[in-house]
Symmetry: C2
Subunit: 582 residues, 2 copies
């Protein structure tokens, strides 16, 4: 038996007990006749004391030679500490060591195993097993487990059942982003790894499973934007005999439960917003509503004066940055430079300081008088002390730019508090979006999303205007979940593939199995998938998902620790050639 207790549980109540502990040496302190060592394990830290007078000479000598991260086992007596540490649960006691066994030595770690480490991200990734010993990472992994358990127990109590769907599936038309897997048993043929279990969960609904969920790995072989992983985890859910409102209620229930259980936050009913409203008010389909700075459209009050830049713009739109009227010229110029960066792409920015004395001073005073500027303040909701910032140009692009500025300002102003939680439903997404590159409409969510019945006629006349029974759940400006009511009859699904540019043969080859299934009595159904990695990170109060993944890959999709992917050896290559039928 390696231990009678762990390193986080002994208190004054255990004084005089003989205990056995095992763990890692966090650090030692040598005072000549006394040696202290902090012993660490997953559960905490306990102080060990070796006393020249009371400890066996051989053990004392061993103690003096203990290095950081040595793995040891000690037997000793719990005694009261002379100088107590009220900041640690075991701070009232220490262990007077009688026996010491070195279970394993350790060479010097490449970075310090402390909450605040001196190791950069690359080195911590390479030695991830050491990084995991640090409290912040360890606690993130414990938290992830806790979230998963809460999700499973909550959904299970609601009658959902977790069903495992296959990982080795068939490649789909978005195939360019599929990982493909050669198969030995079926030479020259390939499996694909799923980007989502979408079709399988729909088949489960056809199969009468009714309420399905799965916490499941999905895969996407694409260039990784920062903080994306080629393998990621979803909470995938689907329900039969439901309308949009049933799904929204069900998963609002789940999200509320998680916020309450894990963060102690009671949010009440989640606000809802249409996609159009979100774009108009925030320039963004996943607005962060922890703070205001709603868009004020200024076309009516700023056009038809002498200012050509505004007059020639499709949209003139502004926000009020709270308390920023005090910005210096230099600070404002820096903001203008910020929006002119290629990543944002504005060509310039107009501003107006709403001074505390009620006057407004703008960068375009030549064209606008105080009365005009008061109207700007009204439209943007600016108060005395605020700074009004205005962009103009093409409506969509200008909204996107102003949204970027809004988020940047909120970050600078400390309005994005990770311990404040603002959930939001965004609904009535467009069914289709125009793809400039291929010059045709693509499904905004996926081709199984149901159009709103009342918009069906528009499919022929104005496809871009058709709204879908689709919804996203937003938390603090992040899409944490998205879903839709699905098409559940063969005729509509065939029509949808036609509108998306599939030939009848293509549709049949790719999704014939699903359309066939719809003929045998498919119930109305719909669902939602949460991005589990993101959800955990946001609930955990972090911006990046990487800390919540035990063994993440870097931005090149590499596991630097185990050096994967890698070239395969000759035997494997030969084997692969056979598989590929080359």
């Amino acid at each position: 038996m390696y231990r009678s207790h762990n390193c986080g549980e002994l208190t004054a109540a255990n004084i005089d007990q003989e205990v056995t502990l095992s763990g890692w040496v966090q650090k030692t302190r040598n005072k000549g006749f006394l040696v202290w060592a902090d012993l660490r394990d997953r559960y905490g830290v306990t102080q060990l004391i070796f006393d020249e007078e009371r400890t066996d000479a051989k053990v004392f000598k061993q103690a003096e030679a203990l290095g950081r991260e040595f793995v040891i086992q000690v037997k000793g007596i719990v005694i009261e500490r002379v100088s107590k540490n009220p900041n640690m649960p075991t701070g009232d006691i220490e262990i007077l060591v009688k026996e010491l066994a070195i279970l394993n030595t350790a060479i010097t770690p490449p970075f310090t195993i402390e909450d605040e480490t001196d190791g950069g991200e690359d080195i911590r990734m390479k030695y991830r097993y050491l990084d995991i010993r640090r409290n912040p990472v360890k606690n993130s992994l414990l938290f992830r487990h806790k979230v998963a358990m809460e999700v499973r127990n909550y959904l299970s109590k609601q009658g959902f059942i977790e069903v495992e769907t296959p990982v080795l599936i068939k490649s789909t038309p978005e195939g360019a982003r599929d990982f493909v897997v050669p198969s030995r048993m079926n030479e020259g043929q390939f499996y694909a790894l799923p980007q989502s279990p979408q079709t399988f969960k729909q088949l489960l609904m056809v199969g009468g499973m009714d309420k399905y969920f799965q916490i499941v790995k999905c895969f996407r072989d694409e260039d990784l934007r920062a903080d994306r992983q080629p393998e990621f985890t979803q909470i995938d859910c689907e329900m039969a005999f439901v309308e949009q409102e049933d799904i929204v209620q069900t998963f609002e229930g789940l999200a509320s439960h998680l916020l309450k259980e894990l963060k102690g936050v009671e949010t009440g009913t989640f606000p809802r917003m249409t996609y159009d409203e979100a774009m108009k008010k925030y320039g963004n389909d996943k607005p962060d509503i922890r703070f205001g700075m709603e868009f004020g459209e200024l076309n009516e009050v700023a056009q038809h004066k002498e200012f050509g830049v505004f007059n020639n713009s499709e949209l003139v739109v502004g926000i009020a940055a709270p308390g920023c009227a005090s910005y210096t010229r230099k600070e404002i110029d820096a903001l203008i430079d910020w929006v002119k960066r290629p990543q944002v792409g504005a060509t310039g920015m107009v501003y107006a300081k709403y001074n505390e004395d009620g006057t407004i001073k703008s960068s375009v005073d030549k064209f606008y008088d105080q009365e005009d500027l008061k109207k700007w303040a009204e439209a943007t909701g600016a108060q005395p002390g605020d700074l009004i910032l205005i962009l103009s140009g093409d409506a969509n692009k200008t909204r996107a730019r102003l949204s970027a500025l809004r988020m940047e300002l909120a970050t600078r102003l400390g309005l994005r508090n990770p311990e404040v939680f603002a959930p939001l439903w965004v609904m009535d997404f467009p069914l289709l979006e125009w793809d400039e590159e291929t010059e045709r409409f693509h499904a905004m969510h996926h081709p199984f999303t149901s159009p709103k019945p009342e918009d069906m006629p528009l499919l022929e006349t104005d496809p871009g205007k058709v709204r879908a029974n689709a919804y996203d759940l937003i938390l603090n400006g992040n899409e944490i979940g998205g879903g839709s009511i699905r098409i559940h009859d063969k005729a509509t699904q065939q029509l949808m593939f036609k509108y998306l540019g599939f030939t009848e043969e293509e549709a049949k080859a790719q999704f014939g199995f699903l359309m066939d299934a719809f003929q045998y009595g498919a119930p109305p159904h719909g669902g939602l998938a949460f991005g589990f990695d993101r959800l955990v990170a946001i609930l955990g109060g972090q911006e990046t998902i990487r800390d919540f993944i035990a063994f993440p890959k870097n931005n090149s999709g590499r596991d630097v620790m185990i050096d994967a992917p890698s070239a395969i050896d000759d035997t494997q290559l030969k084997e692969l050639s056979i598989k590929l039928n080359l």
Copy 2:
């Protein structure tokens, strides 16, 4: 809202309530002025009644046209049934339908959606979404979910945390059975899919995670024996600061909990047996101990007579088939033919009937008298009425053959009752096994398994005799779990790779990351992995795992429903060539 209740919950207590139900039409019965329909969903079946007098004429007409598996929604009043059905939970009531909406029609299913179906396995696999509507398959999937929830909640309460390990990993030396995955972001390089998360869970132990588990998909690209899947699910577990006994106790606790919670079975302490004992007593390292028929070795009592066949055999060994002394000559000849089949491979079989009158009649009476035969009975534990069956030859092969016969007889005699549960630990496995083909020793479990310290010296002198700290958990003759104490220091791990025929470079290239990790303070650790598919099937009282998998592949590794794997199209092939750097 599609329903106020499900189809399994209405009882006499609901009489006179107006309800809305949705589901599938199981069947209809038309009596001219009355139409009944059984409405089915995941939760049960409720009888609908349409009455020419009390139901709207249009609705009645619709009801007459309802086909099997139509998806409908009805509104109606709960009324008392005239002829109650005590065998169904809703058997006291029926719904007098007022409104009927056909949500989807259905063409005739290719097999009947009943507990006992007319569909063969192939057709049921092709239309798996229809097969899942049948109670036996549906209940198997519900049961699987229940097992997973019990496992997670139990382990979580014991302080284990579930950590997700990567699916896209590095290929290992057992690479020939790895699925490899070309990577777009790293051209010419490959990920592999894990056959188990072995090295990652060991790194978690190095990382101080202490108690890890994961219910996780693993992958093996090999010829599929019947009832194996290229993707399979494991309950993967690992603990630090443990000895073999800690692990055995922990997972015996889990298995006992599952047997009690899911089957109401109290097993008490699981029996244990060494590998050597299992081979000697049952000729098998996963003996089914629901029944006796232990092997009796007869060398001492059957050799040194005139019977050359026995005298020239390394091993003479028999079992007593209970109550089979009454077998006719024809029946015994059939048994002899059975052991002579190439799959078993015996050249013949000696038998002795222990008659009820106490006499023994053998097939070799020429060589053995009653006194000799009494000794056979004693050695095999035969009682009057039993049939003693004896094989001889090479020890290992003979044991394997007699084991096959023992299992076959038990099946014929009805001794393998799926509702009886007999767990067993088999321990002290050999560390290495000789591979005839490559003419060298291979790791019996895997190269990370720790030898028993006291056997370490034998590694140089008699490697085949070295025992490992390895153990299997057997349930009803199936290995449901297996594990070991791992090597946790670099020097021993290097030595092990050397004994397994790795060059230093090969070992470093493949497992350098693990041996590096061992240098930074690796704790003693060990673990166990359960075959989840098999565990669920056995607990569910079934021999085959396929029914407990929502979308299984067939024996060729194919998903016949969605036609995977398949050839990929030109665009994908081009994309793949780029990935492969061809």
